[in-house]
Structure formats: C-alpha cells, structure tokens
C-alpha cells in the first residue's frame, strides 16, 4: 500500500471563505428547521463501517446525535434521516444549492488545490489493462470545476456522471459527459466518489454499488472526512466540516479499511493529505480543550515546527482529509 504526503501551502480561507461558509451553515440550519420538523429519522444499531453494535455518545449538533463506534472509532449519526427524508432534503435544501453553486467553487485556490489536485491524482494513478473499456464514472458529481478538469484530461473513452447535482448540469452540457440515473449492464474502469460516501443512509451499500459498477481490476478514487483526523478528534461538534444532516458517517481509517476490504476491494493507496488541521485548530483554539503539549506547539512554536507537525499527521494518517485508491479484486 502507498501513502501520499503533500506539502502545498494555502490558507483555509482560500478554499472556505468565512463569510460564504457562515451563510452556507445558516442556510443549512434553516433547511433543518423547515425540512426535518423535529423528525430525526431512524435509529441504526450497527456501525455503518465495521458492523459493531457497541458505541457511545460522542456529541450532538443542530439536533442530530453522533455516536462513536467502540470497535473502529467511526463516528456516525443515529438516528439518521431515512432515504426518503434525504431525497427531500437534497431536493429542497437552499444550503446545499448555495454551496455547490457558489462562486467559492470557482476560486483559483480551490481549483488549484482541490480540483486540479484530484484530476492529477487520477491521471498519475490509472493503469488500463488491455481489455479495459477506459471508461470513467463520477458518482454523484456536484462541483463544476472538477467536471471541467476531468474533461480536459482526455484520458477516457467514455465519461459518465451518475446522478449529478443540479450545480454541475451546465458544465456537463458543455462536456462529453453522459448523464445516468440508473445503470444496467455497464461496467467502468474508473469511478470517483469525492466527498459523497459519508452522505448516504447506508454508505456500505453505496460502496457495494460502486463495486458492482467496476470492471475487474477497476479503480475507485474516494475522498471523505476522517474521524481519525487531528482537528476532528479535538473539535468534534465544533468541526466546521461536520455538517448534519449532510455528513452522517465520519469514517475512521480502520472503519473504512474494514468496509472496503469486506466488500472485495484491495486498498492500493490510503492517505490523509490534508494540510489544514493545525490552521483549523489554531483558528478555533477557544473551542477546544487541548493538552498543554499540543497547545504549546500551536500557539508558541514557529511555522517550520507547525509544518513538520502537519507533515507528521499526514505520515501517520491522522489528518482529517482522507483519500483512498482501491482496486476491485478479480
């Protein structure tokens, strides 16, 4: 297995401007009030990653309760909105619509540090066998710049957007992407699922669907938030990238590993190439109870020490942004 360390330097505000992000969060809170109407959904008794029935209360946020699996440390929402409730939420959420279509997605820093980086990761990592169809499917795409980056690569014979969000429709219409809302008898060489797997009522079921859509030796490129991540472990409900009801399952490294390998994937690469954990904690230092040792590093040490610490987090797979490349075993 390989692990990726990246050393790019940028600030959290460049990819998540505070004003716009606060507006997004407020819209989501309004959505919750209007759409969920005190009905939090269905209890789940097993960890969505490893299946363990042992868990403990972790925190609650905007009226939703998160528990931590006692076996794999995945953090998951229970009760959680049913599939119907989620459909209703995503169809009507002003917050989701605002954020997915916001100009923020098109800022230079976000394009360079998020979408181009993902496209380059795919370009560097793919390896087609002689009987591969060289086809690509993006699973629930939601950001236009990424559709454009993938189109520009010209790597694939066929490009498919599976159940795309409204926010990418214009970009898709200008590209060679075909839209599918259901797939029968079609297999793909490469599937990407960026920031989507944590949003399903049953994420393991979504991973099984992806597995069934891949050719033998086909590749899954996946990104999601990691419960093993430094800033998530300390910020918990104050973590700005845990937004209920959107982020329902925050996989730990151990949890996602178990889920993928049980389905039949071989994990080729597992990385947490996040560069922002320390910046995020530093900005929210009043929201967390840090051990003195960590507080000293963050408040009293210079940038080179912080950069080394952030690199250590990546090396130890303890940053909160997780990327996985997995291969469908024959």
């Amino acid at each position: 297995m390989k692990t990726r360390i990246i050393k790019e330097k940028y600030k959290i505000e460049e990819i998540r401007p505070q004003e716009e992000y606060n507006k997004y969060i407020q819209l989501i809170k309004d959505d919750i009030e209007q759409i969920f109407n005190d009905n939090a959904g269905t209890f789940i008794k097993q960890c969505p990653a490893c299946g363990s029935r042992e868990s403990s209360f972790k925190f609650s946020k905007y009226g939703f309760v998160y528990r931590e699996c006692s076996t794999c440390s995945t953090i998951y929402m229970t009760p959680r909105p049913t599939i119907e409730m989620l459909h209703n939420f995503y169809a009507n959420s002003k917050g989701v619509k605002y954020w997915n279509s916001s100009y923020v997605q098109n800022t230079k820093s976000r394009i360079e540090n998020v979408y181009k980086t993902r496209a380059r990761w795919i370009k560097e990592s793919i390896e087609f066998s002689s009987n591969s169809s060289n086809s690509y499917l993006d699973y629930y795409p939601k950001y236009s710049p990424f559709i454009e980056e993938i189109s520009n690569l010209k790597l694939f014979n066929k490009l498919v957007a599976y159940k795309p969000f409204e926010s990418v429709m214009q970009a898709i219409s200008k590209s060679k992407f075909e839209i599918r809302t259901s797939i029968i008898d079609e297999k793909f060489s490469v599937i990407s699922a960026f920031e989507v797997i944590d949003r399903f009522f049953d994420p393991k079921d979504a991973l099984k669907t992806i597995y069934s859509l891949l050719e033998d030796n086909g590749l899954l490129f996946l990104s999601t938030t990691s419960a093993s991540g430094f800033d998530i472990q300390y910020l918990l409900k104050n973590a700005k990238n845990i937004i209920p009801p959107i982020n329902m399952t925050i996989f730990s490294i151990e949890g996602i590993t178990k889920a993928l390998t049980e389905i039949g994937f071989e994990i080729v690469e597992m990385s947490t190439p996040g560069t922002l954990d320390l910046q995020i904690i530093e900005k929210q230092i009043k929201d967390v109870q840090l051990p003195k040792f960590l507080k000293d590093i963050i408040t009293n040490r210079d940038n080179s020490v912080k950069e080394s610490f952030q690199e250590f987090l990546q090396r130890a797979k303890l940053s909160s942004y997780m990327t996985i490349l997995a291969k469908k075993r024959k």
Binding site: T3, I5, I6, K7, K9, K123, E124, S125, E127
Partner: protein
C-alpha cells in the same frame, strides 16, 4: 496449473524464492541442489543434490538459478539444454561473454522461458514512476542520477563476492547492476561512457567504487555511482523531465537498511523560486519477488514472451558494465 520447480543454489535468495513459489501457489519445489545442501533442514519429500547436473535430469518444468556468479551462466545453459524454463538471479554471469553464451544457447531453444531477476523494476516506487511516465504527467525525460551503495560489512573481505575468480566483478557487478538496469529501463540504452573504477578501501582484488557519466543516442544523460564504501546504505535515483522530476529514495529490502521507500514527484514551476511543492509517496511493502515469479509463471503457462528481465535486458546491462570496467585503474 501447478509447475514443478527445482532450485539451484539454496542460499538466502534460493530460500526466498522457494517461499515465494509456495506462497503464490504456482507450483511445488521438488528438488534442490547446493554443495552444502546437507546442512539444511529440509522437508524430506524434496529431492536433494550437491550437484545441479543431477537436478536437471529430473522431470521438472522450471529451474531457479540462485548461485554464486562463477556457476550461474553454466547452470543456466545446462538447464536450457535440459529443456527447462529458467529464472536466473542477477548478475547473469561474471562478464559479457558468459551472458552472450547464454544468449547463443537460448536462441536455439523453442518455447522455453528465460527470465532474469532484476527485481528492482518490480519495486512499488519504480512501478509507480514508470506509470507516471507512461501517463505523460511530466513530459520527456532529460537526465538521471543513480546512486546505490552499501557499507560492505564486518566479513566483507572474506565473502565469495569479494573473490575475483568466484564473483567476476565487485560492487558494480554485484549491486550496481540493479541501478544500471534501472537507468537503461528509464532512459534507454547508453552507448557512450566515461568512468572511473577504483578500489578505495577494502583489501580485495575487486572494485569498491565505480563512477560513470553516460549518454545515449537520444541525448539522454546519466550520472552513476556504485559503492561498497557507502557507510550509510543508500538507494537514490533522480529522474528529471521537461516539466518536473521524480526522486526514488530508499528501498524496502529485507534488511530495511536503505530507508523508507519513497517516490517524490514535483512539477516545474518557475514562480516557486526553485522550491517546488513536492508530493511524496511512501510504500509499506515489497512485492517485487512475487511479481517477478508470478510473471515467470504466467509466461510459462500462457506461452507468452518475457517483458521484464529479458536476455536483451541482461545483455544491455552487462554491455554497459563492461564499458564502465574499461577504465578500471587498479
């Protein structure tokens, strides 16, 4: 289909090959030949010989040749003449003439597989770098620098490797051949060589350092250093392209003494003041021995041609080594 294997030479590498054959389930080792075979504790169902000529008379499909250099080429030739498929460890002989003799015999065989053990090609860092080149991420390669060295060790002067008659060559032939093969693999075959080959420290009749600058017909250049006075073990291969670079540093070996196997990738960017953002991949396993033998097995059962570690690769590596030796100054 399971093959019947015989192993000639049951030292460290012969034993490793036996284990890999068994773990892969590609066949059964039914015979071993080694002058010291009676000193090993071996399963009684395996036939044991002190003379490999007895082994190749058996009804076996394939032979692994893992002998000291002075036996290697003759053992390969005798095995081919006995109608066996042959996997031969590096170096393929003590000198170019010995390898040419192998080629002469092999060219007269039909449907036999001959593969040489250049296992560094199958290390994950090398496979990844080759994939990135194949996916044209960094443009045309321009030049490379390859350094490979070890410290010799306490008993170095008394090893068979340090005996000119038994080994044929010093560190250049023993370890440097891997780096020579990789430089050929990444840049193409070199035809012009400037070199220094010297004995700086060890009291042996063979070189302990070899330095070379090489050029090929495509105007690609390489700097090479092979050393047994590298007191801290080193493997480092720098590959520079029109649009960026890759550095392979460290190598996952049995001794773990070459450091973490990493691949650094960076894109050229003139605005970064010579400090580009590097991405680093590190690898936590070495499957090279498995990939090599699996490929050997596939070539036999599918009657297909060897792609990695061909007689051509062996000849090219030995030709280059011979050119470097032309400037031996001790």
């Amino acid at each position: 289909m399971k093959l019947k294997f015989g192993i000639i030479g049951f030292g460290k590498i012969g034993q490793l090959r036996k284990r890999v054959i068994e773990e892969l389930g590609i066949g059964e080792v039914i015979a071993l030949a080694d002058p010291n075979i009676n000193s090993f504790d071996i399963d009684s169902s395996i036939e044991l010989f002190t003379d490999y000529q007895e082994l190749i008379k058996l009804d076996i499909d394939a032979v692994i040749v893992a002998t000291p250099n002075f036996i290697t080429s003759q053992a390969v030739i005798d095995s081919l003449l006995a109608g066996k498929h042959v996997f031969c460890e590096k170096p393929p002989g003590r000198n170019l003439n010995e390898v040419k003799e192998i080629e002469k015999i092999f060219s007269k065989t039909n449907n036999l597989v001959l593969k040489f053990g250049f296992n560094h090609r199958e290390h994950f860092s090398v496979r990844e770098a080759k994939k990135i080149i194949h996916n044209n991420v960094l443009g045309e390669i321009m030049w490379a620098r390859g350094f490979y060295g070890k410290s010799g060790g306490e008993n170095f002067e008394n090893e068979w490797r340090s005996d000119k008659n038994l080994a044929g060559g010093g560190i250049l032939l023993d370890q440097g051949i891997h780096m020579i093969d990789l430089l050929n693999y990444f840049l193409g075959d070199f035809d012009e060589v400037k070199s220094f080959v010297t004995r700086s420290f060890w009291n042996i009749g063979l070189e302990d350092n070899a330095f070379a600058i090489m050029k090929n017909k495509q105007n690609k250049f390489a700097v090479f250093h092979s050393s047994s006075t590298q007191w801290k073990h080193l493997f480092r291969l720098e590959l520079f392209f029109e649009n960026g670079y890759m550095i392979l540093s460290g190598l996952l070996t049995g001794s773990l003494s070459y450091g973490t196997e990493t691949l650094i990738i960076a894109k050229r960017n003139f605005s970064d003041k010579g400090q580009p953002n590097e991405e680093e991949l590190f690898f936590d396993e070495d499957k090279s021995w498995y990939f090599e033998l699996n490929d050997f097995y596939s070539c036999i059962v599918n009657n297909s041609q060897v792609i990695q570690g061909t007689i051509y690769d062996a000849l090219k590596a030995m030709e280059l080594i011979e050119k470097i030796y032309e400037n031996k100054n001790f």
